[in-house]
């Protein structure tokens, strides 16, 4: 499954560690929410980038106290039709101010790319290699957006009313 960041296919520097596996020192790892929450205080002191795989039926608020210590949060799309993680992403970015990597995993297909970027994702485990290759082209399809979201692009309403600043706090990542 190719990983896309900054519009390009890249190597994944993170290692996924399952709940039974031992966590390697210093290496960037992604662990489950269950494992993380069981021992969060210890895990965040570990040396090395820490990522958490956060299921789409858990409130983003539960993760909020730890966000400053996390390098990555992975949010899941079990089916592309299940859009709960879009809300989680915006909450993490806009309400809780998460600045780390926000990764989309699961049923991640071409025609969701624009929505994902606008919801605040910046890392994408793309299901089909053909989709991953055209990522940059696909997200450039739309040059205008009606609504403000997590990507900081100004809404049509704001762009039309020149007197109002294009992006206020809360509109930007």
């Amino acid at each position: 499954m190719p990983l896309v960041e900054n519009g390009k296919i890249v190597e994944d520097r993170y290692v996924r560690v399952d709940d039974a596996g031992s966590i390697p020192e210093r290496a960037p790892v992604i662990i489950s929410a269950k494992r993380f929450l069981a021992d969060a205080a210890t895990l965040v002191r570990r040396d090395g980038s820490l990522g958490v795989d956060w299921p789409n039926d858990k409130r983003a608020a539960e993760l909020a106290p730890w966000l400053g210590h996390l390098a990555l949060v992975a949010l899941n799309f079990p089916k592309f039709r299940d859009g709960r993680a879009y809300s989680q992403a915006r909450l993490l970015r806009e309400t809780y101010g998460f600045r780390g990597t926000l990764r989309a995993t699961g049923d991640v297909l071409r025609d969701q790319f624009s929505f994902l970027v606008r919801a605040g994702f910046d890392s994408f485990e793309v299901k089909k290699p053909a989709d991953a290759r055209v990522f940059a082209e696909v997200v450039a399809r739309y040059s205008v957006h009606y609504q403000p979201a997590a990507d900081g692009s100004p809404s049509a309403l704001r762009r039309r009313v020149k007197a109002v600043p294009a992006a206020k706090s809360g509109e930007t990542v």
Binding site: R59, F80, R81, D82, G83, R84, Y86, S87, Q88, R90, L91, E94, T95, L109, D111, Q112, S114, F115, L116, V117, R118, A119, A130, R141, Y142, S143, V144, H145, Y146, Q147, P148, A149, A150, S155, A156, L157, R158, R159, R160, V161, A163, V164, A167, K168, S169, G170, E171
Partner: protein, 552 residues
């Protein structure tokens, strides 16, 4: 009319380009039908029994004559010469070829029309009163906020994969012509005790197999907060709405299971964190959108000009039509004219390309180039000078849209049913057609007075049968079409769900049953002006049940 700017046009054109690419990938086999499905659905393209169906949004039911001409063109060029106006201010084409869809969409885009938000689990076309901006009892034009919300939710990155579809209606009159309480979310503009304008927010309405009327969760919402509050509702629903069962996925189930109060609390908590952010609707923003609605330059005229009164006296048919199809306008000397798309033996809501072209021409001549589409599946010309009514009536009569049956028993609301729809269990259109033949006598119709019949071909209730004065629901029993009959439903400001009168009846008996119900009403009513719906309310359904089932 809302006038599109470069921004709106760019978005619609980019959408067409994207869809063209998606269709090409489907035709080449790169996309399977399963993968293509959600993409086409996001553009209003359904696969029905015989062909693809294209649903095009008519936001808040307002059309320009140029747009109506384009709808006629699409009907002629890509379909079989007609279109079907739906109960949600959309038009549907039922015979479109996949390979021609991108061209049809590009043609529609040239007049600012599209199928975005007409299908899929997104916020659907925002609907409102078809008399918005002209109704005398209106506080303010609700289309300004309908348009603000429409823009906000169009291709919304967070709310394009919600648990299920989401229907929003906006109203601003004392009399509800937008069926507010059967919507997932409804906003009603009204004045609070201090005389300030605010919105009443209602959530969790909807028909289908578990009908609910929407509950008020916020009686007074300031205009500045409309977008942030809508966003908080959608975010709450997107996260917590059920996704395990398609029949329990609408917001009405979430509101019901949590309770309206707990739901409102959840929404409020979310709203507190975003209400003062980027979504605040300051006056500049609202003014900007409002300014893009153009209003006619009305003449200074008096009501009831002599030539109009003389024409009424001279021609009984014209007088009847005025009494039935013409409504008061907020500007003196003008009128709102309803065009019935319910001729005897016709399909409710269908219009031919020729009719659409002619209506566009008449709109240019008599109604400042504007046409409205109502949820009752009729059209309206919203700004007609009263002194032009006689000439307009003759022109409308020539094309068969001057039948004076508006709000009468033959003004039937119906879904397409099993003749087109892959979800349907039973036919709807032939039932409607048969009823219009049974009740073809206009004197009888007028004697029966206001009487709404709503027909749905399946439990999804696109024909809004639950809120029909007489509701007819098609079901399937052992491979045969049966119909459940409900009485006493209504969709106005006193909305109510109808009550089932007894066991379902077979296809061949539906029209007889409706005739029995009508006959029972004529006997039961206390006075000639006691409406059907009021008689049902007074007597209950029992005497109707007896009448219908005694003979069967």
């Amino acid at each position: 009319m809302y006038v599109y700017d470069a921004f709106d046009r760019t978005l619609v054109n980019e959408r067409v380009a994207e869809f063209r690419d998606q269709v090409a990938r489907r035709l080449s086999g790169e996309l399977t039908e399963e993968e293509f499905k959600p993409l086409r659905l996001m553009n209003g393209v359904y696969l029905q029994l015989h062909a693809y169906m294209l649903r095009t949004a008519i936001p808040y039911g307002t059309l320009s004559s140029a747009q109506l001409r384009m709808l006629a063109h699409v009907a002629r060029k890509y379909d079989r010469g007609y279109g079907h106006f739906t109960t949600r201010q959309n038009i549907q084409y039922h015979w479109i070829k996949l390979e021609e869809l991108p061209d049809a969409m590009a043609d529609l885009a040239s007049v600012g029309m599209h199928g975005m938000q007409t299908s899929g689990n997104v916020v659907r076309n925002i609907t409102t009163d078809q008399w918005a901006g002209v109704a005398p009892d209106e506080i303010e034009d609700p289309r300004v906020f309908a348009e603000i919300i429409r823009q906000h939710v169009t291709l919304h990155p967070e709310f394009s994969f919600m648990p299920r579809k989401f229907k929003i209606a906006v109203g601003a009159s004392a009399h509800d012509r937008a069926a507010l309480r059967i919507h997932d979310l409804a906003l009603r503009l009204h004045r609070n005790e201090a005389g300030e304008l605010s919105f009443e927010v209602m959530v969790g309405g909807g028909l289908g197999r578990t009908p609910f009327l929407a509950k008020t969760i916020k009686p007074f919402l300031q205009k500045r907060d409309v977008l942030s509050y809508v966003e908080a509702i959608l975010r709450t629903y997107n996260q917590f709405g059920r996704r395990d069962n398609i029949y329990k996925a609408r917001i009405k189930i979430l509101v019901h299971e949590l309770g309206a109060e707990a739901f409102a609390k959840e929404v409020d908590a979310e709203w507190q964190s975003i209400k003062d952010g980027a979504l605040v609707l300051d006056d500049a923003v609202v003014t900007e959108i409002a300014a893009r609605f153009s209003y006619p330059a009305y003449k200074k005229l008096d009501d009831s000009p002599p030539e109009f009164l003389a024409a009424r006296r001279a021609d009984r048919h014209f007088d009847t039509w005025v009494g039935n199809c013409v409504a008061n306008h907020k500007v003196p000397g003008y009128a709102i004219v309803t065009l019935s798309l319910k001729p005897e033996g016709g399909t409710p809501g269908d219009a031919t390309a020729e009719q659409m072209d002619k209506i566009a021409e008449l709109a240019d001549r008599y109604s400042f180039g504007e046409i409205r589409v109502g949820h009752e599946q009729n059209l309206a010309l919203p700004h007609v000078e009263q002194r032009d009514l006689a000439a307009l009536w003759r022109a409308l009569d020539d094309i068969g849209v001057a039948v004076p049956n508006v709000n009468l028993v033959s003004d039937i609301i119906s879904c397409p049913g099993l003749d087109y729809c892959s979800l349907a269990n039973a036919r709807s259109i032939p039932i409607a057609q048969e009823l219009t033949r049974r009740f073809h006598n206009l004197d009888l119709q007028r004697d029966l007075g206001r009487l709404h019949i709503n027909i749905s071909g399946c439990i999804n209730a696109c024909g809004h049968h639950h809120v029909g004065h007489i509701g007819i629901l098609g079901v399937e029993k052992n491979g045969e079409e049966f119909y459940q009959i409900t009485l006493g439903g209504k969709a106005d400001e006193n909305a109510k769900l109808g009550d089932l009168i007894g066991p379902a009846v077979p296809y061949a008996q539906v029209a007889d049953v409706v005739e029995d119900i009508a006959a029972a009403y004529l006997e039961l009513r206390e006075r000639p002006d006691e409406l059907f719906i009021d008689t049902v309310k007074r007597t209950g359904i029992e005497p109707f049940r007896e009448r219908v089932y005694a003979a069967r």
